[in-house]
């Protein structure tokens, strides 16, 4: 995390190509933008130029969806080098990835696939996060994905697993409230105690998004679609969360059925007001240090229906 930049982050928005001009022109207090770096890992041209133009006016966050940190394949060194070059170019305030995997034998699945939270996964993730942080020379945040399956073999609850990972690797956490809400609904647990179980000191960023009932299964299965406004249930959890944690940079993700920029700004203003009510002020965060406090091993946007494809539409011909 870039200490200087992150200090001023209030409520931000996921940046869509159709909104580049409006994003550049907007001057709301605390506003920042997040993109998937995969859509900008190119050698030149408009994708980079537009990102740099936004960056000249607002802080940026790079939210990766393809690192496959928990996958069987070792991280792609070329991908990491490209990401490092983009970080060097746009100097993001935040860099984040997911507790997930998406690559096997060199093939890529555009999704955030679930892991079994066991010792093998912890050791693997710790080593790879260390590798990424070492190369980027910065602390990254790891996000809790949405869950749709009850898997056997977990040795940790998700929050405990992520807290342990944060302690051992020195990484921070990106707490997606909608993902906890969707997972709690799908797997049958109370979301609030889970939100409370995340280490407050490790939470560097919060995500909010909308969800939908599955077309086939209805309310029985919620889909983290990012294709609607944030639900009231998620807003209530968020409000309680920031009253408990204090203010954290908060992003509203929207990847489908994208409304006008002005509508997104209104939704974002609600988050900003919540942050200000919770005492939002320039945020001080400890700089990244390798390893963190190693303890004994004792004891994982998500944009359903299109993880990173959202940003592909709308590029001017």
């Amino acid at each position: 995390m870039d200490l200087t930049q992150a200090a001023g982050l209030g409520a931000g928005l996921g940046l869509k190509p159709a909104h580049y001009d409006a994003a550049c022109a907007c001057s709301a207090s605390g506003l920042w933008f997040e993109v998937h770096p995969e859509n900008h890992l190119v050698e030149g041209g408009p994708r980079l130029a537009w990102l740099e133009a936004v960056r000249e006016r607002h802080p940026l966050s790079l939210h990766g969806v393809s690192m496959s940190l928990a996958g069987p394949d070792e991280p792609d060194p070329l991908h990491l080098e490209r990401l490092a070059a983009l970080c060097e170019r746009v100097q993001p305030a935040l860099v984040s990835e997911h507790l997930a995997w998406s690559v096997l034998d060199g093939h890529c699945a555009p999704d955030l696939l679930p892991i079994v939270r066991n010792r093998q996964a912890l050791v693997r993730l710790e080593r790879r996060i260390d590798q990424v942080q070492e190369r980027l020379q910065r602390r990254i945040a790891i996000e809790n994905p949405s869950h749709y399956l009850a898997l056997p073999g977990h040795e940790w609850e998700e929050a405990d697993f992520l807290n342990t990972l944060a302690r051992r690797s020195g990484c921070g956490l990106l707490l997606d409230v909608n993902n906890v809400y969707v997972s709690a609904h799908n797997l049958g647990f109370d979301p609030w105690p889970v939100l409370c179980a995340f280490d407050p000191d490790a939470v560097l960023e919060i995500h909010l998004a909308g969800h939908h009932a599955d077309p086939q299964w209805g309310e029985r299965l919620l889909i983290d679609s990012h294709a609607s406004a944030v639900s009231e249930g998620v807003w209530r959890l968020y409000q309680r969360l920031i009253e408990r944690l204090g203010p954290r940079p908060t992003l509203i993700e929207r990847d489908g059925d994208i409304p006008p920029f002005a509508d997104l700004l209104l939704e974002r203003a609600r988050a900003q007001r919540g942050l200000e009510d919770a005492g939002w002020h320039p945020l001080g965060v400890a700089p990244w240090h390798r390893g963190g406090t190693a303890d004994a091993v004792g004891q994982q946007d998500s944009t359903r229906w299109g993880v990173q494809t959202d940003a592909f539409g709308g590029w001017p011909a």
């Binding site: 699945a109 066991n118 029985r220």
Partner: protein, 284 residues
Amino acid sequence: MKPQLDLNGFQHTFWAALWAPEPAPASAETLPEWQTQPGWQVYRNTVLKGCVDALQANFPAVTTLVGEACFRACALDYVHAHPPRDRRLLCYGDGFPDFLGRCAALVSLPYLPGVARLDWLWNQSHSAAEAPRLWPEDLGGLAAVDLAALRLPLHPATRWAWFADLPIGSLWRAAREHWDDPNPPHWQGDGLLFTRTQDGAVQWQPLSQAAAALLDACARGLPLGVALEQTLEVALRVAPQTDPDAGTNPAPGPDPAQTLHALLSLGVFCRPSVHSPLCPEYPA
């Protein structure tokens, strides 16, 4: 003590089910329990839809020509045969043009692979590196002998294709420019040139066979004198043909110098290295 679940074993099982051509019936007795849960299909659907969405975004002219439903059906076949190998979905589909040429359902549309190739070239131009351009006036002070020996590097964003038999450039333009009448103005071979403007937008224009020959020769690293000779040969060979796009064509006539000037004016070349007579340091 319960044995630890092997993470790699789980992931390989998950992956195989994810990419299976057809989903296994939830009633199958040999399935892992998690594959019988309603949520399992979310992963499979998301992955396949994400890949198809990426192809549709990367091949908009093909989508326009065949319609969304047909495109997505063909794309799904491609996804199963060729899952992405690059984490950047904007780079997904390099084999898609050839794949379309092998689709039995599309055999009546022989121009589709070419149209797909133009979509792909547009993508490449859009994402190519920046480089200083070479303009016509930059060659103004050169002696003829130096000019003939010059090897002109292409700008990274320059892409082109010539199609000998079909009006694929026109068909692509009709789709991308949303012509009211999508039928090309002629039914003969044509070509298309992609460059990027100073402000970064990809622009395209019809390309003559002679201009394509000049670009091909420069791409092979031939000295400009040799490249222009080859251009002239092509221009003389095709000169009897009527060029319906002559009004906007960067190389309308048989004069290779005009062709070169038109291409230079579009910024298709970049400044050569220090070992060129165009550089102040030359000769070193």
